[in-house]
């Protein structure tokens, strides 16, 4: 059984259909990349999975359970964490409070402290700046904070939306190293990226999204050598 299964999803913004019958699955332990151009519907899919948007039809299953109609705030405690596009950290809250927000649904103080220590270990910069308002961090640091915040919920699956957007190449490498590390430590990852090259490098499998439909899918290494992918997404 797949950990996350999306079946025949149709999502509309008013009259406009953004997602047209998309199906895909993510198995435990995998890193799955969802690549595609701007406006292809990648963000819409993630937002539908975590309940920020409601689909017109289709279903989302997590660990075999239908979560299509589950309210968004109940999904995170099931083990699905979402790092949204544009980070969306709480700018006026301190770095530490942002991280605590990530553990909002957890009760055990000891375990939360352990998670916090782990996040600080992965992102030492966050510990240095823990009392600073999140809005004063640089873009790359905010991305780290958004990731750390998501990891504070101790997720089974991490959904990441455009983690490389607007970051300098050094930060992009750092972020992808951490995604790799998180995956090695046993967290399943669903990665949405415009930076197809980076995404395919760390992914096991990938789905290519074109104007709301999946046009291609398969092994990430194979897709990297696919001519049409090379032309359209890898700039070769």
């Amino acid at each position: 059984m797949a950990m996350l299964e999306v079946k025949d999803l149709n999502v509309y913004y008013g009259m406009i259909q953004a997602i047209k019958g998309v199906s895909f699955e993510v198995n435990k332990g995998e890193v799955i990349a969802l690549i595609g151009a701007n406006g292809a519907g990648k963000t819409t899919i993630l937002q539908t999975v975590t309940g920020l948007l409601k689909p017109k039809s289709g279903s989302v299953f997590f660990e075999g359970k239908d979560i299509t109609k589950t309210p968004g705030h109940k999904i995170v405690s099931m083990g699905v964490a979402h790092v949204p596009e544009g980070r969306r950290v709480f700018a006026s809250l301190s770095v530490l409070d942002n991280l605590r927000m990530g553990a909002y649904t957890r009760k055990d103080k000891g375990e939360i402290a352990a998670s916090l220590a782990e996040v600080y270990k992965s992102f030492p910069r966050l510990e240095e700046r823990k009392n600073q308002p999140a809005g004063t961090l640089s873009g790359g640091e905010q991305q780290m904070l958004a990731m750390g915040r998501a990891l504070m919920s101790k997720p089974q699956i991490l959904l990441m939306d455009e983690p490389s957007m607007g970051l300098s190449p050094i930060f992009v490498n750092e972020i992808f190293d951490i995604i790799n590390k998180v995956s090695k430590e046993g967290t399943t990852v669903l990665l949405v990226e415009q930076n197809a090259k980076k995404a395919l490098e760390i992914a096991d499998r990938a789905y290519v999204l074109e104007t709301g439909k999946i046009s291609l899918s398969g092994n990430a290494k194979e897709l990297m050598n696919n001519d049409s992918i090379k032309k359209a997404y890898l700039g070769e």
Binding site: K74, S77, R88, F90, S92, L93, M101, Y104, T105, L137
Partner: protein, 293 residues
């Protein structure tokens, strides 16, 4: 000496405005809507207290508690029935609905209690103090009102800064979508905000009518509007802003009444608002956070 005495009266009236303004500003900060029925919740709360104390003969303390509970329930019901269905439509629809709720509450009060003015008995039994050999008298109502306002401010600030539901409120006010991703129930948080705001409205109503005893179905509307002005004046969405805005507005109003003209006092209050907004459109303590992309 009379100036000091006017200042205290102004601070007392301002404290009531501040408590009401907190309700406006919290709801605006979190739900991004102007609840123009807020002033009428004050009136409803005062009628509840009046009924409990004067009609049914309960103790003032019991009357206040019943009034707080009643207003909390009404506030949450208003949010759930009138505003929540409008969460995803234009803000104008919400604004018009709020005005509708305001008229609804006034007319229900009119039906139940009639249009004649009820005389509210002060809930404050403390006589007040006399200073400077009897030249400066400060009433018990004045002292209690200012003290209650300060306590409310402190408790609310601690609640928001240091408790989990308080921080959830801050998160929802910044980004409801991201808050939902953290597992925060945004609808529940909005309901909690209405509950707190309405409970404060009950307190404000009882304090207001303890100093100014005339109670009619329209008692809440003018203080409601003035408190809204205070909230905007201080910077809508800002809790310290509501406090500062409320106190300043009360002092300006009472000093204008005393030294300029009692007919012109309201006009002066609104003129001050216009000037402040021209100079600083976000209000005295209002902030506009620059978002980093």
């Amino acid at each position: 000496m009379s100036l000091v005495s006017y200042l205290f009266n102004g601070l007392s009236l301002g404290a009531v405005y501040a408590i009401i303004a907190l309700g406006y500003t919290m709801v605006y900060g979190i739900a991004k809507m102007l609840n123009f029925a807020h002033g009428d919740v004050i009136m409803v709360g005062t009628y509840i207290a009046f009924t409990a104390i004067s009609t049914m003969g309960m103790s003032p303390a019991a009357g206040i508690i019943i009034s707080i509970i009643g207003c909390t329930v009404i506030g949450v019901l208003i949010e759930a029935i009138a505003y929540r269905p409008l969460l995803n439509v234009s803000k104008l629809a919400v604004l018009i609905t709020a005005i509708g709720v305001s008229y609804f509450l006034q007319n229900v009060a009119l039906l139940i209690f009639g249009s004649d003015t009820k005389s509210f008995t002060s809930v404050v039994s403390f006589r007040g103090i006399s200073l400077a050999g009897g030249k400066l008298n400060i009433s018990g109502e004045t002292i209690v009102t200012i003290a209650v306002c300060i306590v409310i401010m402190l408790v609310l600030t601690i609640f928001i800064k240091y408790t989990k539901p308080g921080k959830a409120m801050l998160a929802v006010s910044e980004d409801p979508g991201a808050a939902s991703l953290m597992g925060i129930n945004t609808n529940g948080t909005i309901a909690l905000t209405f509950a707190i705001g309405s409970a404060l409205a009950a307190v404000a109503g009882v304090l207001l009518c303890s100093s100014y005893p005339a109670l009619t179905p329209y008692t809440g509307s003018m203080p409601g509007i003035k408190a809204f002005v205070a909230a905007v004046f201080g910077g809508i969405g800002s809790i310290p802003g509501a406090f500062v805005g409320g106190l300043l507005l009360g002092v300006i109003e009472i000093l204008s009444k005393a030294y300029i003209s009692s007919q012109m006092a309201d006009a002066i209050v609104f003129a001050v608002l216009i000037v402040v907004l021209l100079v600083k459109p976000t209000g005295l303590l209002g902030k506009d956070i620059q978002e980093k992309v």
